[in-house]
């Protein structure tokens, strides 16, 4: 949807963001225990209580939890009493935020709580993610997520779009950050090949974490936040599932989503990209037409912390928080789902003029 389309609709903003530390293992914590401090933090920033929230939407994945209906336990933690107007998506929380945004547009609610979480530590994430591939022709071969990302990286190198030193540079920049919540920061060795051409440094850390955001519409947003991050446009698009019919060096779905979100109408100063593998940042920068004037992933992005189902929502939250703090005026936030950037969401956030 273009920003012109949105102009007749309600203005909706991100007014608060919170996240947990992302840790390699959280054996001593349930998902609910991991999530609760994040919910308290994000509600505390606005002074709202659960019962004040008009709509609640979350994102999580049963395959990470290893049990059906895992999100019901998190809802117990939210404190859904009296009963809530509530929904859940089985994917990254960025799509929960999208659902909440549409709910606020209808006028049925003025505020929304969006949260997501994922614990990758109980299983072997590379193996678990093979279960999201075509169940008849691809999943039985168990091609793991790093191997698929390596195909994409090799396609980029073969096309002359990048090389291994450039990818190493992306890895280093992503970890030279001051984000205290990140799992990897500082000088991180680029390491050995995991699957050629990807080295350990080209891959995201595997970690557990949670994120939460509060949305508010119109004047309610101004009451809750001194500088709301207005959602000027948000759109998401999916591509074919079979890798064989896609050009892995490009992301037409990300480009179309950005166009529909109005990203190309005016210059951006910041972009938070959900690119778990270094080579995917190359793909996204091209598709989203991000030149060197745009600061990429000041948070470190998914290469510094990649809690499954929360890393995309955290990109929107990180971009919004920079606007809240006055460090950005117009930022792009991106989330992805599926193998090799199959599905992409783009949000354009703006602060009021200073």
């Amino acid at each position: 949807m273009t920003s012109e389309d949105v102009s007749g609709l309600r203005d909706v903003a991100v007014v608060a963001f919170a996240q947990s530390d992302t840790l390699r293992t959280t054996e001593e914590q349930s998902e609910v225990e991991m999530l609760m401090p994040v919910l308290h933090d994000v509600l505390g920033q606005t002074g709202l209580r659960t019962a004040d929230i008009g709509f609640t939407c979350s994102g999580s994945c049963d395959y990470l939890a290893g049990r059906a209906f895992s999100f019901t336990l998190a809802l117990d933690g939210v404190g859904a009493w009296p009963p809530l107007s509530e929904s859940h998506v089985e994917t990254d929380g960025a799509w929960a935020l999208y659902e909440a945004w549409t709910k606020l547009l209808t006028g049925d609610a003025d505020t929304a709580l969006v949260y997501s979480y994922g614990k990758s530590s109980p299983g072997s994430l590379r193996d678990v993610l093979t279960r999201q591939l075509d169940p008849y022709y691809v999943a039985p071969l168990w091609p793991d997520s790093v191997a698929l990302a390596a195909l994409q990286a090799q396609a980029l190198i073969d096309a002359g779009e990048t090389d291994e030193p450039a990818l190493a540079g992306i890895a280093a920049r992503s970890r030279e950050i001051a984000n205290p919540r990140a799992q990897l920061r500082g000088s991180v060795p680029h390491g050995d090949y995991v699957v050629r051409p990807l080295r350990t440094g080209d891959c995201p850390p595997i970690g557990d974490g949670a994120a939460a955001v509060i949305l508010a519409a119109g004047d309610r947003a101004r009451e809750l936040c001194s500088r709301p991050a207005w959602i000027r446009g948000i759109d998401h698009r999916i591509e074919a599932h079979s890798l064989g019919v896609r050009d892995l060096t490009d992301s037409p779905s990300a480009r179309l989503a950005a166009e529909r979100a109005g990203a190309f109408e005016r210059p951006l100063d910041t972009a938070e990209l959900h690119a778990p593998f270094t080579a995917q940042e190359v793909v996204l920068r091209k598709a989203l037409r991000l030149d060197d004037s745009v600061r990429i992933n000041p948070s470190g992005g998914a290469l510094a912390a990649n809690p499954m189902m929360a890393a995309g929502l955290a990109r929107i939250g990180e971009a919004a928080a920079r606007i809240h703090r006055g460090e950005s005026d117009r930022a792009l936030a991106h989330a992805t789902s599926g193998p090799c950037l199959q599905q992409n969401l783009v949000a354009v956030l703006e602060g009021d003029p200073r």
Binding site: F69, S85, P135, R237, I238
Partner: protein, 388 residues
Amino acid sequence: MSKEPVAVVGIGQTKHVAARRDVSIAGLVREAAQRALDDAELTWADIDAVVIGKAPDFFEGVMMPELYLADALGAVGKPMLRVHTAGSVGGSTALVAANLVAARVHGTVLTLAFEKQSESNAMWGLSLPIPFQQPLLAGAGGFFAPHVRAYMRRSGAPDTVGSLVAYKDRRNALKNAYAHLHEHDLTLAKVQASPMLWDPIRYSETCPSSDGACAMVLTDRAGAARAPRPPAWMLGGAMRSEPTLFAGKDFVSPRAGKDCAADVYRQAGIADPRRDIDAVEMYVPFSWYEPMWLENLGFADEGEGWKLTESGVTELDGDLPVNMSGGVLSTNPIGASGMIRFAEAALQVRGQAGDHQVDGARRVLGHAYGGGSQFFSMWLVGSEPPAS
């Protein structure tokens, strides 16, 4: 700015059966989607976005299957959103899709829900042992039977009411070509003599495991004006959720269900549901949930719901027909079951329900629930557009 009115202009479902071994998951969902498009006389190119729902991914053993289904549902290059809210998901999915139209984000949206239960075993998929968490016992029946018993004790309903519901719904299913169970030789005596599974729930009072999909095309006012057949108009829709377990929870008549219905009635201007609503398609996976939900939804006073069932009010030719399609008791592709309820409500007000049509149905409620009687989604559809 007021919401855009939402109309249902296309409905499609598969013939629900125990096992669709002739099609893949993609083939199953595409069949329902194509039928919904055919009903609306639209093509894949007319669809702006796809909203898909299903119950837990363990039921097929495919993680986030919407990624793999993007091609089969014509979603490539479009937005595709996956909803998962337990057993209510089919209803919730339709409501999320409706919001895209109501918010004027999209003009025409395809929404679809499915389950291909033959790929796995739902009862044990629900019963994975997790340390330090209350087990669901042997599937959903083990969880719900005590709450049925509580209702019987609280209301003083005769033991036979459940069997009446089951016998009615299975007979209604005989009029619905898409229903899974077509038990032509079923008698009330056979229902009452069927094996006890989870006391007081007998075998013939439980839902089957089905493979099936249901799809709807939702559109705005302009889309409805172009529709070849009468649209169903959404007059109200809501979701409510409450915790699974807590001190003081009323499992017999959960507050989330009452609140959800009240919200829908408020939106639709329904003062007295018993008088103002012509028929109800509700989520009854175990027979006794018919009288329980009649009370929870405000069609009967507390403790009185079973009297409507016993006196024949909920029969297809009764004053308030319930589960005209044969209901969940006759067809249960879990993730799709909520949407089938919503779709049946829409079929009724469109006058397209064939042999199970309720004459003159103008306002019909579709209802779904899930989890531990904690997730509710409902919509009220009408033959006329909303007043405002």
